[in-house]
């Protein structure tokens, strides 16, 4: 009789442990997923901001047609690539970032533009969006680290392999291309 109780007890304890570990893994995996979605939201926000910025700057920057066109083209390309493969997209986003930084560098030569309230507001928005992109990337990587640790460490790695929780990849940034292709597997 005692043996039966002991066995039942062990089974219950094991079930509770399994339950806690499984839920923990699901929570972390969802966090990774949400963090990834947040990066996407911010990249889209950048697409929306650029036409306004270019429109405002155009009136003041008569001699910077090429710089402005480069930004517009890079933006359009990046937007087209957003549904394409991650590798191509990374390259396009990287080019957009560098075109934008060239534009913001030449703004220094146009004091009238720098005094324009509308432009200042747009610049703040763009600066903040760039920040948000990097903070969401940072949070994504932190989440991936926590999630991967859980899938690899004892005892949660046993649960992870039982239910097919696969490690996610980090979102690394190389200088050549702003956005390296992250392969996120949510199985």
């Amino acid at each position: 009789m005692v043996a039966v109780y002991v066995i039942i007890g062990i089974v219950v304890v094991l079930a509770v442990i399994l339950w806690v570990l499984y839920n923990g893994l699901v929570r972390l995996r969802n966090q990774v997923k949400n963090a990834w979605a947040q990066i996407d939201v911010q990249l889209k926000r950048r697409y929306d901001l650029i036409p306004n910025l270019v429109e405002t700057a155009k009136g003041y920057m008569k001699h910077e047609r090429e710089t402005l066109e480069a930004v517009t083209n890079a933006r359009n390309l990046a937007q087209q690539m957003s549904s394409a493969g991650a590798g191509q997209r990374a390259k396009a986003e990287g080019e957009l970032s560098s075109a934008l930084s060239r534009l913001l560098a030449v703004v220094e030569n146009y004091p009238d533009l720098k005094a324009n309230q509308n432009f200042l507001a747009l610049q703040e928005e763009l600066t903040s969006t760039e920040n948000k992109i990097s903070f969401s990337r940072q949070f994504y990587n932190d989440s991936v680290l926590r999630y991967n640790n859980q899938t690899q460490m004892v005892p949660s790695n046993i649960v992870a392999s039982m239910f097919g929780f696969k490690a996610s990849e980090f979102f690394e940034v190389t200088l050549a291309a702003e956005r390296e292709a992250p392969k996120v597997s949510f199985t």
């Binding site: 200042l120 507001a121 610049q123 703040e124 948000k132 940072q138 949070f139």
Partner: protein, 385 residues
């Protein structure tokens, strides 16, 4: 751990209070009842009470886009699910606080003085510190501890008076039989305890508060990846002398720096809700990376002792500090521009209508103004209201 200590103090006080009324259980029940009621009020109304007490005004995105953006950036960096509400307190003193019972119902408030004085990086550091209070649920922890402390002080105050004036007298007449000696000893112990309990509770409360401040600084550095931002903000905060008008003792641990700090006070002693600012700056500047481990190491170097971060949160990972900040200095408004911007926001939040005259003057039209047009006192042009 310290919280449990405070709870134990409360229960002990209830016990001794009960002993004074011949019934220990009744005292316990009183203590627990008072505590539950106070906790419920603090839990459900704490944030709105605090915000209305500090006369904070809620802002929307359009009122101050930069502040809103910075809060949103930190919300993303910390992984909060919901955007906290943002409030501005019209006060030249430099301070900020966070409130709200859980991360989904949180608010961040900063003074208009702070909004003027700090640049983007510094503001980001301060907001990161406040968001960490939300993320670490310090607001809930500290208000519960505050309620515990308040209850202990309250009960001890009443209890000691009962013991001195009421309880002892009535007891002498009622229990004329044996055991008088033991009762007197218990009474004396109870009296001493009543006097000491509030003091100990206060010290424990301060210790918890200081620990959470260090943790919030560490998380702030981690979220921004830029400890210098918070360090330089703290430097400006420390140099200012203005005291916040609408702060009180109960709300002190919520602020980024102690609102009751006296100038030149060395507050590393046991009686402050916040660690001394100079020490917080030294730790932040001694950090080699931006992770909790780096903060912990910096803390132990400054203190020549063991660290302050709970060991469960320490992960062996290297987190580099951002050296090149993304925002260019180009679009950064200087202090005068920030002052103008902030005063514009404050007028608007008080429902004043601002009209810009062509001569450069700004007319602030009060909400009670009923005339259809107004004359510029500077150049005499007429404006439609």
């Amino acid at each position: 751990m310290l919280t449990i200590g405070m709870g134990a103090l409360l229960i002990l006080i209830g016990y001794f209070l009960g002993a004074a009324f011949d019934n220990a259980v009744a005292g316990l029940v009183i203590a627990i009842l008072v505590w539950v009621i106070l906790s419920l009020v603090a839990y459900f109304q704490g944030d709105s009470i605090l915000l209305s007490m500090s006369r904070a005004k809620k802002i929307k995105r359009d009122d101050h886009p930069r502040l809103y953006n910075i809060v949103e950036e930190m919300k993303i960096a910390s992984g909060l699910e919901k955007m906290p509400d943002i409030y501005i307190i019209d006060d030249p003193a430099l301070n900020a606080f966070a409130t709200g019972r859980d991360p989904n119902r949180a608010s961040v408030a900063i003074t208009s003085g702070l909004l003027q004085k700090l640049n983007r990086d510094e503001l980001q550091g301060v907001i990161a510190h406040e968001i960490s209070h939300i993320k670490n649920r310090d607001v809930l922890l500290m208000s519960m501890c505050g309620v515990l402390l308040g209850t202990i002080v309250l009960l001890a105050w009443y209890g000691s008076r009962f013991l001195i004036f009421g309880g002892a007298g009535s007891r002498r007449s009622s229990s004329s039989g044996g055991g008088g000696q033991g009762q007197i000893i218990i009474l004396i112990v109870a009296l001493v305890f009543m006097i000491l309990a509030p003091i100990f509770a206060q010290l424990i409360y301060f210790a918890i508060s200081r620990k959470r401040e260090y943790l919030a600084d560490a998380s702030g550095a981690l979220y921004t990846r830029y400890p210098e931002g918070l360090a330089s903000a703290l430097e400006k905060l420390g140099a200012s002398t203005g005291q916040l008008k609408a702060a009180n003792k109960a709300t002190a641990p919520m602020y980024i720096i102690n609102p009751f700090r006296k100038k030149g006070m060395k507050a590393s002693d046991l009686t402050s809700t916040h660690p001394p600012i100079s020490e917080r700056i030294r730790i932040l500047r001694a950090m080699a990376g931006a992770s909790f481990t780096d903060y912990d190491q910096a803390y132990s170097t400054v203190h020549r002792g063991k660290g302050v971060i709970p060991t469960t949160s320490l992960v062996a990972e290297t987190v580099p500090i951002t050296t090149t900040k993304l925002e260019g200095e180009a679009g950064e408004p200087n202090e005068i521009q920030r002052a103008r911007e902030t005063s514009d926001v404050m007028w608007r939040l008080n429902n004043y209508n601002t009209i810009k005259c062509d001569c450069g003057a700004k007319l602030r039209v009060p909400p009670k103004f009923k005339e259809p047009a107004i004359k510029c006192p500077h150049c005499g042009r007429t404006h439609q209201v």
